[in-house]
Subunit: 201 residues, 2 copies
DNA sequence: CGACGAGTTGAAGGCAGTCAATGCTTGTGG
DNA sequence: CCACAAGCATTGACTGCCTTCAACTCGTCG
């Protein structure tokens, strides 16, 4: 709906791809740089607020990062990789961006805005399921079961507006109740989720 | 920063302006229609979620509404006026939208995304002050004291993720403590806020 | 007048936050 | 190689705040 499922596997001609690993920063607010398009992965955006960095949005495969540099000459947000991320340059100049590209970016930006807000609605169970579902959609298109590498609990807590302790307790509870399946090492814990689970309704 | 302070008082040549009053719906998700630019006022966007309409974002003076119609042929969100609102047609076709216009829309969309998320962070006092501050910025540019017509408590509650009761209690408390000044009739209650108040830090 | 919607206020309970202690893993320096 | 520190996650106990449920007021409109 909001993006083409094939986008992240169809290479753009002659474009160079940059890679980031989970936890790495892609760029910081205030810096100058290019605009990027996410080939695959999930990125967290932060605005420098009064109390340090505060969550400012999500970006998934197909979304555009840092389009504001074409207008302002610098990034307005900091970007951090929640999963391993592949990005490619998007448009080097305002003229290089076609109306269609821009409209698509604008449209999916609004979708992502609603997604981000949903992370702060409802019970802790609902919020975390929502986050994992969004990340799953950004990683495994069309599949029913998605395997997601958990971000750090601190990241989850900041995005959902909960505390680390509550996040930890909630994930344990979801795991015990079978809504979730934990795997992987303790450092890079993986989660299998059912994207059609009743938790997301 | 994110929009020109003069935008809403400089009439575009030959464009027609449409008016909506507080509480009115501008359009609904799924309908076909134009893309609009807000001349003045504050608009709430909603996505149809599992449990009816759920808050999906804010839009202020200078922001673009319904740009996705140019791409998808229909609105993705419903729009409701939180204050009296004036809007004008923005771009009738994808070709009519210049890269500069689109980049500006994209940039402010991201700003607004962070603003919307801030409405769901922190204590009830902080959330409501944040909302009133954002609305004040959208109405009274550059002034220190802004006079804002309060949205319905139900709207405030849904946007901040609180209950109407908590919103009512919080506003009363802010009023008693002097952070806020209530005025106007009970139906269209007005609020004077100090945009540089310590509450917003 | 009576019904309805919107807002206010009170009382009680639940649930998330806070504080604290522990375990696990990784990295560092003796 | 071992001891130690630091970061992250987990678990427990307790407090406090927001939600929930309820009753009531006020204003508007039929």
């Amino acid at each position: 709906m909001e993006f083409d499922p094939d986008l992240e596997i169809r290479p753009a001609s002659g474009s160079r791809v940059t890679t980031f690993t989970r936890g790495e920063d892609l760029f910081h607010a205030g810096e100058a740089g290019l605009a990027w398009r996410i080939r695959s992965g999930v990125v967290r955006l932060d605005r420098l607020g009064e109390t340090g960095r505060e969550f400012g949005g999500l970006a998934l495969a197909g979304d555009v990062l840092g389009a504001e540099t074409l207008l302002l000459g610098q990034y307005s947000f900091s970007a951090r990789a929640l999963t391993d991320v592949f990005i490619e340059p998007w448009a080097s100049s305002p003229e290089a961006a076609t109306p269609h590209m821009l409209l698509q970016a604008l449209s999916s930006s609004k979708e992502r805005q609603a997604d981000s807000l949903a992370l702060r609605s409802g019970t802790p169970e609902h919020r975390i399921s929502q986050l994992l579902a969004v990340m799953g959609r950004g990683l495994a298109h069309g599949q029913r079961i998605a395997r997601v590498v958990l971000p750090q609990l601190r990241d989850i807590a900041e995005m959902t507006g909960l505390t680390v302790e509550t996040v930890s307790r909630t994930i344990s509870r979801l795991n015990r109740s079978g809504s979730l399946e934990l795997g992987g090492t303790l450092r890079a814990k993986q989660v299998s989720i059912d994207l059609q689970s009743s938790l997301l309704t």
